[in-house]
Amino acid sequence: MSKLASAALSLLLLAASCGEQEPAPAPQVEVVWRAVLDEQLKAFAEDGLPEVSADQISDYLEAMELAAEGGQMGTRFHMRLEEADPLELSAALLAIVENRDMEAIDKARAYAWLRARGSSAMMPRLTLRLKYEKDWVANVDIALALLQHGSGAGLQAFQNILATEDSSDPDTLQQARFRTMKALAFLPPSDRWQPGDGFDADWRRLLEVQAYWVKHRRLPNRDANKATRDQRAETWRTLSKLISQRLRPVDDARFVLVRMPEWAFEPIIETSLDQDRYVREHALQTLAWIGYPVGRWAREQAYDLQAKLQSAIGGGDSRARLFEAMGASGLNEMQGTLLQWLKDGSMEEMTAAADALLRCAGQEPMAELSTMLTSNKVLSPEARYSLALLFTEVDAIDALDWPQGLDSSEAHRRRLWRLEREDRP
């Protein structure tokens, strides 16, 4: 079927929209954007990881090499590294591992020292190494360092290494597996598991901890951890990358932000009110990618996420993204606002509102939605599909009745949201 014909078929109810009926004007709300990033970067300018010079980096390279040689001199350089300022050490060693031209052996030593002596402020930049570092053994060091500082972002690397059986480099894989098994001893203990219970028990505990991390962005049996000032400074620096016109820095920042512990949620939410359109769009989308953990955290912390996000609703440029973030929280207190915009918004806003309702609505609005659907409402294929999926909670829909014209990947995404509804906060 040609795209013209399939598009025609897909655009259910559009004709009706082009007739007499004009939608009511969307609600107008004023919004005042703030220079959130500028303010925070200024406030934290003296915190976080310091700038390091090329000479300092060379000194650290030399110290690590000599420390590895052992003997009296090795011991002396080992002590020097042990006693180095953790912030300076982290900054210098991160510069080494982030340098594509650096020797593999130097990087391996730097990762090992970051694991042993790195500051918790390294968390965002070290998390980014999970994206770029291909060396398995280095990934064990990264994951373990993150774990020790309260992040489960590297647990997937542990799981991947242990689940991999074949490799073109079996020696390295074997070494990584051995080190991962040792690293599992650092998983948070529970009543039913202690380090040394054996591999099967360790593996089960790894999966438990990882599932908990994915759900809460917090490690089990740990108090809701608060960020240090240095960690917050580095988090704001990561958020500042969202302003980039080049995609790569944005992509990198979001890779990190969706893997940060729950204490990073508030800065991301604050950033969604930034004066720069790209910054707030990307912050909102990051919240949407994190999804239900944000809503769960807001509920636990009695944080009024709805009021916070609602305050940005006057920003027409990013309103669709705002709805996406609202829905992704899974909080059904968002549904009133979303329903209103499903009635009165533009095509984009209505689509985003319908998608958001699929992720957060309870069963209360079903009757209202059915009335809306029978009133020649303009709805995109995506919106209709989301609403149809929502209806499956109260009634079955025959296969033939499903809205047509939607790309399979777009349908798949929405079916996943439907499945996730079971786990709403």
């Binding site: 598009a7 655009l11 770029y132 995609l247 095509m347 984009e348 029978t374 294929p381 209806f391 009745d401």
Partner: protein, 321 residues
């Protein structure tokens, strides 16, 4: 619920078909919500777009593979963009929520933030249902830069020699079109790296011999940007093969690859051929024959691992050495 949904969906399907295939009865302003609304009055443009890679942007299997089926949502920004005119000139676009299947569609480039559509035609019929209004930047490279400068194609154009730059992207990629009814416009097939003729018009290959031996030259004679450009996956390979004494041909031997490497290919450098530049390469031996007949070819690949048989052959030239 089931019954009402069935009826509802059936009604909607018929209504949409009627709307798309039959032009509006009057010149009453349209509330533009979908590019499918444009098809009725602009069927010829729609047909051109239907053949373009803009239309294919969201469904392209190669894009799906590279983006992990859009699990990498960053890619959506340019493969299902919001209207470019709602962003500042030259700034990157962001992804839309609706009708992503239409890829880079009419509204992506024409929808005006204040309603109606933007056009580069200063004499547009402003009382047409789509309420066209002249927007100067529609013919500027900034309009295309919203997506096509991620890999610096527009910056390459800015640095290109004046004689190859033209006035912008549309000179080559949207040539003038004279349509039925005397309508004059621009072609919306956006011919570029997927079109053999467009590729051939970008470069000129020559072979020859002199005191230093046999050689091949490639000159960027027609592209107002590097060759190849845009995505880092694009690659062009110069290859030679020699004829053996028994008349059989040897294997193709690589001479040079033109390409901007991926970021993690740290051992490679950018070898794209800038606009107006010429490169000359000696023909390397194949280990068996270094004299007699040789053939040189230029292959264009949309990804660097594409087998020779799937690549587009832009040129093949023979010479006696």
């Amino acid at each position: 619920m089931k019954t009402f949904l069935s009826g509802l969906l059936a009604l909607g399907g018929v209504a949409a078909l009627v709307m798309v295939l039959i032009p509006p009865k009057s010149d009453a302003p349209l509330r533009l919500v979908s590019s499918t609304q444009c098809f009725a009055c602009h069927a010829d443009v729609a047909a051109e777009w239907q053949e373009s890679h803009h239309q294919f942007a969201f469904e392209n299997p190669e894009v799906r593979r590279l983006s992990n089926n859009f699990a990498n949502q960053e890619c959506l920004a340019c493969h299902a963009p919001r209207p470019v005119l709602s962003f500042k000139p030259g700034e990157r676009v962001l992804a839309r929520q609706s009708e992503r299947g239409l890829g880079v569609d009419c509204l992506s480039c024409h929808s005006h933030p204040e309603g109606g559509v933007g056009t580069k035609n200063p004499n547009a019929k402003s009382d047409a249902p789509c309420q066209p209004r002249y927007v100067e930047r529609m013919e500027s490279v900034d309009h295309c830069a919203a997506c096509h400068n991620q890999h610096k194609t527009v910056e390459q154009w800015r640095a290109a020699p004046p004689e190859l730059k033209g006035t912008g992207c549309i000179d080559c990629h949207m040539p003038e079109e004279f349509r039925a009814g005397g309508r004059r416009g621009r072609n919306h097939a956006f011919k570029a790296s997927h079109d053999l003729a467009a590729l051939q018009s970008a470069v000129e290959m020559k072979v020859g011999k002199d005191g230093n031996g046999a050689f091949v030259t490639l000159e960027n004679v027609g592209a107002g940007h590097n060759f190849p450009t845009d995505e880092r996956s694009r690659a062009a390979d110069l290859q030679v093969r020699w004829q053996h004494a028994d008349g059989s041909w040897g294997s193709w031997v690589q001479i040079h690859r033109f390409r901007d490497p991926y970021r993690d290919e740290t051992d490679l450098t950018n070898t794209q051929l800038p606009s107006g530049a010429t490169e000359r390469y000696a023909l390397p031996p194949d280990g068996v024959t270094q004299s007699g007949s040789a053939e040189v070819r230029l292959l264009y690949r949309t990804n660097p691992f594409m087998p020779d048989g799937e690549a587009k052959e832009l040129y093949r030239l023979s010479l006696e050495v």
